[in-house]
Symmetry: C2
Subunit: 358 residues, 2 copies
């Protein structure tokens, strides 16, 4: 048995779909949720694909999540709307919200849809690309149910890793894609440093006194992350401001619950998202935006590199390269994760699909 399975995207999606339906999700919501996670895995965003299944199983077990929610438009005004996620997973309401933002942008040039009463929604970049695939600029942000980013000068977490993703359609190139957490690094990098026995550089994480944390094991236990930039001297106050901006647009604007003030006895996490779409044809003649974006992407890649062995990449290149490779070769799933998925599938009464892959 190999240590890593290479799972075709179609089979990976079927596995996810089967588990979600076994948890009680409706077929169409299971499809949107499975598709969103599969796309993240195809794009190489390993932290937001099938690896989420054990965490999602815990969410279901917590009783704080409704497996079969009613997703409804709670408000609609002009080019804006608010969707109530009904307390289920975030993917289905987030897909609906971006669809609606695109419809609004078709009519008004721009559309913005907030989501409240939701939960973890997977990878922000997948929604931004949902818009780009239809010829729109897509912007997606989400708040997080658990705070981990510590404000500049502080020693307590006040916001999640609050990601920002923007995608834009080109003509010759694959879409522009920025997909970033507003923390300096992802939690996954702490795990990697721990496994490899490395100490953490200053600026990645903090201890409980607000000082730099160098021990990866303790950093994983405390989850006190610096905002992008790290220290004040390196611009950490900007990352703090960006994380706070995401919180304002996702939580306060859509009417969701701010995690740091959520009562411990709250029956749901009530996470908020923000989805925005822009129609380039409202601003430019048809095709002009895409042509200029192509020239921009080409120019970025043509930047003289510091090291000839490492060319300059345009935003989205790593994700698109991963997608090509994984579409061809399958999505790498570590054996240990496949075992967890098997146990979760069997426990919930879903079929296990990876048995024949090795």
């Amino acid at each position: 048995m190999s240590a890593v399975l290479k799972v075709p995207a179609k089979i990976l999606k079927s596995q996810l779909h089967a588990i979600f339906e076994a948890w009680g999700m409706s077929a169409d919501q299971a499809d949107m949720t499975a598709e969103t996670l599969t796309r993240a895995d195809l794009l190489g965003i390993d932290s937001h694909g099938i690896t989420l299944i054990p965490f999602y199983a815990d969410l279901i077990a917590s009783g704080r999540l409704t497996p079969r929610p009613e997703i409804r438009i709670a408000r609609s005004f002009g080019a804006t709307a608010v969707i109530d996620g009904g307390g289920g997973f975030g993917e289905a309401p987030a897909v609906r919200a971006m669809e609606l933002a695109i419809e609004k942008a078709q009519s008004f040039g721009i559309g913005a849809v907030g989501v409240r009463n939701s939960n973890h929604y997977g990878a922000a970049g997948v929604y931004a690309l949902q818009a780009a695939a239809k010829g729109f600029i897509g912007l997606s942000m989400t708040a997080v149910y658990a705070p981990s980013i510590v404000p500049t000068f502080g020693r307590e977490p006040r916001m999640g890793t609050n990601p920002i993703a923007l995608a834009a359609p080109a003509r010759r190139n694959r879409p522009f894609l920025l997909d970033m957490a507003t923390s300096t690094i992802a939690i996954g990098k702490l795990k990697l440093a721990f496994r490899e026995g490395r100490t953490l550089p200053e600026g990645w994480a903090l201890d409980r006194e607000g000082r730099p944390q160098h021990d990866p094991e303790q950093a994983l236990a405390d989850r006190l992350m610096t905002p992008l930039g790290g220290s004040r001297e390196m611009g950490g106050h900007k990352g703090y401001g960006l994380a706070a901006m995401v919180e304002v647009l996702c939580t306060m604007l859509s009417g969701a619950t701010y995690a740091a003030l959520r009562p411990a006895e709250a029956s749901a996490y009530d996470v908020g998202h923000f989805q925005l779409a822009i129609h380039p044809e409202a601003f430019r003649e048809k095709g002009e935006f895409e042509e200029d974006l192509d020239a921009f992407l080409d120019c970025l890649r043509a930047t003289r590199p510091a090291d000839v062995a490492q060319p300059v990449l345009a935003p989205g290149d790593p994700e698109h390269l991963a997608c090509e490779k994984r579409s061809r070769e399958g999505i790498p799933v570590p054996r240990s994760l496949a075992d967890q998925v098997e146990a979760i599938a069997r426990k919930s009464g879903a079929q296990y699909f990876f048995g024949d892959i090795d």
Copy 2:
């Protein structure tokens, strides 16, 4: 004579207005431009107030800027529009664009207005606050006529310091305000390090080979800035992506000229901006957004500090504190800058207003 004049905002604005009119600007454009720079100075954004005058005089002298432009709405569709700045300074078209975005947001819940054929527009935060003062969330971004940010893995600049500003109205608190360049640090910090004889920490600037630059004098000459985060290990690719996002929304979307591809013989810089306004009442019942934002700002400030002598600040606190102090005591103008302003005023035939202040 004191080394620093304390100039009342009203007099500072009159001085700016007089110079702009002497340069040929119409009275209403001179008013908008002077007001924008004065507000930046009041907010403590010293790099974007009256200190810009020598730079603006150089722009006028270059012949690449139209002192008395026709500013017009080039396109309008639904909740969006594009304004042509007519080749003048950026402030007047940017103020008009945010006004128009607010009008659109009043009608459609959200409004976005691009500006092209423009130039330097001052401080992004001033426009974001223009929206917040009317009860709207304001987002403002601009491209820059000269590239200074070096993409991750590169050794040539490809984008300006491309700022992002977001402001949002609260009820008890002054507005939320994020106003940040997407470079790790502002050019001003290089000047300060040079004056104080300090070497630069790794991650602030690069040399022409793409390696960390520690010499502030050489850094000032080369202007090869790192994107927010600095090195790849510290998340610099995120700052690079943010700077590129700003370029897409300001330059490609509005149809302005991308600076790194602008022909040397171009007769104008053709800078682009992006102004967006959101009406909270489209998403929430009246007053709910502002109330939740108050709770958020209070919660951020109540974060336990790493050092009791340095409390945690909410985004915008430093600017609002500066504004209170400077409204009371006047705006500090170094004598050397006042001398430059005097020379520029006299040369252009404008009155000099600071002669009695000492």
